[in-house]
Symmetry: C2
Subunit: 489 residues, 2 copies
């Protein structure tokens, strides 16, 4: 703020400026500094006029000037709003990055993955390698109230009632949200799980047999690799575009060639790329798996974290024959640490329910009731609007910092949702090495090698922009950029 | 109560009785009817004297008479207490019931098991087939307060802190309880899970490979059969004595013959038999598996529900080499529906932790903190004393009812803990058939066939005495006895 004050003072001291220009410049500085954020409403003309001691027409002139500069836009009967600014950011990678010759690999996840996971949980590190957004972004106090209420009013017998499918009240609320987004699911289609990870693992167990092969993205969520390894399954990696997701031609070729038992992917804001599969491609994907009678395990945990106007539909929205096992959770968008997820498993629902019944039996009862209560009270949409806005701003701040600090030739994805950016470093940068150097500076990151069972992503890394952009974070990015620059040289 | 009133009236009308005899007879009737329960204190002499309008010395005479009849006993400076009465109960089965020739079977759990499980959860049925005790027996209100407190005070970052091992505070409390019972475990030895069922499944996954063989009890907890089936493992059933648990000679022979990858059993209050392995046998068991380097998965979920003077030690107490994977939970003794269990996996701890990390990641954070708080507040021991007393009384009431209503030749175990009795019916009674008949009368039960992968328990059933002995329960047992008598004829 000190810098901004000095900036303002300099503006005010410019003798030749009119009052409306002064006001416009001041507001422009606030926008550039991130104090006024994209889509935020400017103070009303009356308010600004009173506070500044200037006439309403002067304020109007300032706002017209800002509009002319492309910084704000009037919305009918609503006032003036800040326009989303293009920021400087590194170029985006443009091609799917898995060459043909290493698309088949038996999964053997190394010690490394676990080491990276552990470091990402360390409180003392700057959490660029974390898999979670900042807990500060969640309505934990309000959730706590709901939990307290649920705990006080729980019917003792209800602890057994919905044992395996999960709380009927919670399933009803989840189904209602899907319905509002145009996806017709009934509460009976849903099974509550211990987070999405259990939903995904139950789905995989329900549709595969040890020794079989499963199609995954390249690069993919390391949890998929670990699940495949644990269940004795082979991974077939399908090239995946940083912007538009899995390559469908390559997918069909792999289906025909490898006769897999399942396909596991993320259609929206893929981890680690951040890619968003266009709607037409999602439709084609579902038609493809339906034609080949291939179970599609869809991980949609980031689907609610979109930066656009509406929720991108999941593949499940186009699933008329029940081949899609759609998995999601509240861990990324509402209640991390509560471990509440779900699966709509289509034609495999019964098999999935049995795997649940025989592996963890049921999901915590009071926590489900608390979430049902929270959803019923209607607080979620407001929270999500705020969360999305924060994530979008943090994305732009991080990409700007990367453009500033990282070596020339660095490419980064610019995801339209979620909180991960995927970087490709130039030259012979080895991100496993970078990871170790960063740890020495108390910074975590997720090196590319943990997102694939085969080599090819050693120069890549995933960064988390789910945390408020503090000076410490900026400093950590500067340090990382420095280390990467040295490595690239 | 109507019957009791008539009984009292008859007593009062006997003209030749003295006042102290009248009082003594009245109290005796209350004891026999279960109104005054074992270990319950008789009203004070002063209180009874005032209420009855009789002298204190008359009350003393009545109490002396009851003492002479062996019905009550004086405790120094505490008053008079009801003595535990031997009740009539059916004879106990005496031999392990699995013959040699069907000890090997590939597990193929039928539709039937799931059907039985579902019916056991139906609120509308008399819950003789249930796997849980009555929720009325648990301190749900106090737990709710702890959960409300945890929800209000949770540190946002703590939701990630203990991600995979689970809350350090909770692990500390669990370790303290073990230490108090003479089992030295440190918090670092423990991993928190979604109930004991997950602990058992993680343990099994950590020590086996698909296609391998696992030794189990005969009969055994059906959850073991389901887990083996799900993981593609073979079951080798080892004869298990209704009183003293698994036959160790048969066990060693099976180890040598079948080279199993693991042994899974319950050392205390086995489900479904209720058997309690004597301490010497537990020691010998651990020596045996250590000598053969065989992982022993110990399910100890009923260990806290003992009717004797102290907690029977688990096999883990004798494990010096880390071959025992000890699993337990709060679901049977404190907080059903909360789904909090744990495992102390010895030398397999790291492998188990990784299976947890890659399958369900973590266990609900606020619920763990609430349980840690409850344990720290010291309420558990008091609750458990009450719970054990209730279960013991209910056991005796149920066994008495079985003796009264079931056909001659019925045998029933008389467990020293837990809340399951195992019955062997005479003649050609088929309990699968009985199960269907009982359902028509809105009564659930667990037929013997669900506790084994091979035939041999068709004339057996498991009954739950974890629910208060109401007239409706008595009526249900009378009905069951009638159906069994018809079947046996």
């Amino acid at each position: 703020m000190g810098g901004l004050s000095r900036f303002k003072a300099a503006l005010y001291n410019r003798p030749s400026m009119t009052r409306y220009q002064e006001l416009a410049d001041d507001i422009e500085a606030s926008i550039k500094a991130g104090i006024l954020q994209p889509d935020e409403k400017l103070p009303s003309v009356r308010h600004t006029s009173a506070r500044r001691g200037i006439s309403a027409s002067t304020v109007f002139q300032a706002y017209y000037l800002l509009e002319a500069r492309g910084l704000v836009r009037a919305r009918e009967r609503s006032g003036y709003f800040v326009v989303r600014q293009p920021r400087s950011s590194p170029p985006q990678p443009t091609a799917a990055s898995t060459p043909e010759d290493r698309r088949f690999a038996v999964v053997d996840v190394s010690e490394r993955v676990f080491e990276v996971l552990e470091s990402a949980m360390d409180r003392e590190l700057v959490p660029l390698g974390s898999a979670f957004p900042s807990p500060q972004l969640f309505p934990l106090q309000r959730l706590g109230q709901c939990l307290a209420k649920a705990a006080r009013h729980i019917d003792p017998r209800s602890t057994f009632d919905d044992l395996t499918p999960g709380s009927a009240a919670l399933r009803r609320q989840i189904a209602r949200r899907y319905l509002a987004d145009g996806l017709a699911l009934s509460p009976a289609d849903l099974l509550i799980t211990n987070g999405a990870l259990e939903a995904l693992n139950l789905s995989l167990a329900a549709v595969t047999r040890p020794g079989g092969a499963v199609l995954i993205e390249s690069p993919c969520f390391y949890g998929a690799l670990q699940a495949l390894e644990r269940m004795g399954l082979s991974a077939i990696e399908v090239p995946t575009h940083p912007g538009e997701g899995m390559d469908l031609a390559a997918l069909e070729a792999a289906i025909v060639r490898h006769r897999p038992q399942a396909l596991w992917l993320m259609t929206s804001f893929q981890n680690p790329l951040g890619s968003l599969m266009p709607v037409a491609r999602k439709k084609a994907l579902v038609e493809l798996v339906t034609r080949h009678e291939l179970p599609l395990i869809e991980d949609d945990v980031y689907g609610e974290l979109y930066f656009g106007d509406q929720r991108p539909p999941p593949a499940k929205a186009f699933d008329t024959q029940g081949w899609v096992l759609h998995c999601s959770s509240f861990s990324k968008c509402l209640a991390p640490g509560w471990r509440i997820g779900w699966v709509a498993a289509g034609r495999f629902a019964r098999a999935v329910a049995r795997h649940k019944l025989t592996s963890t039996l049921a999901t915590n009862a009071p926590v489900q009731l608390a979430l049902a209560d929270y959803l019923e009270s209607g607080g979620l949409d407001k929270h999500l609007r705020r969360l999305r806005q924060a994530l979008l701003q943090q994305r732009d701040q991080m990409l700007a910092a990367i453009a500033r600090y990282f070596p020339a030739g660095t490419q980064a994805t610019r995801p339209e949702g979620g909180y991960f950016a995927w970087l490709q470093l130039p030259g012979n940068c080895n991100t496993q090495h970078l990871y170790r150097q960063a740890l020495e500076h108390r910074i975590s990151l997720a090196p590319g090698a943990v997102f694939s069972a085969s080599p090819g992503f050693e120069h890549c890394l995933r960064l988390n922009f789910g945390h408020p952009f503090t000076p410490a974070l900026d400093e950590a990015l500067a340090r990382l950029g420095q280390l990467a620059t040295q490595a690239a040289a």
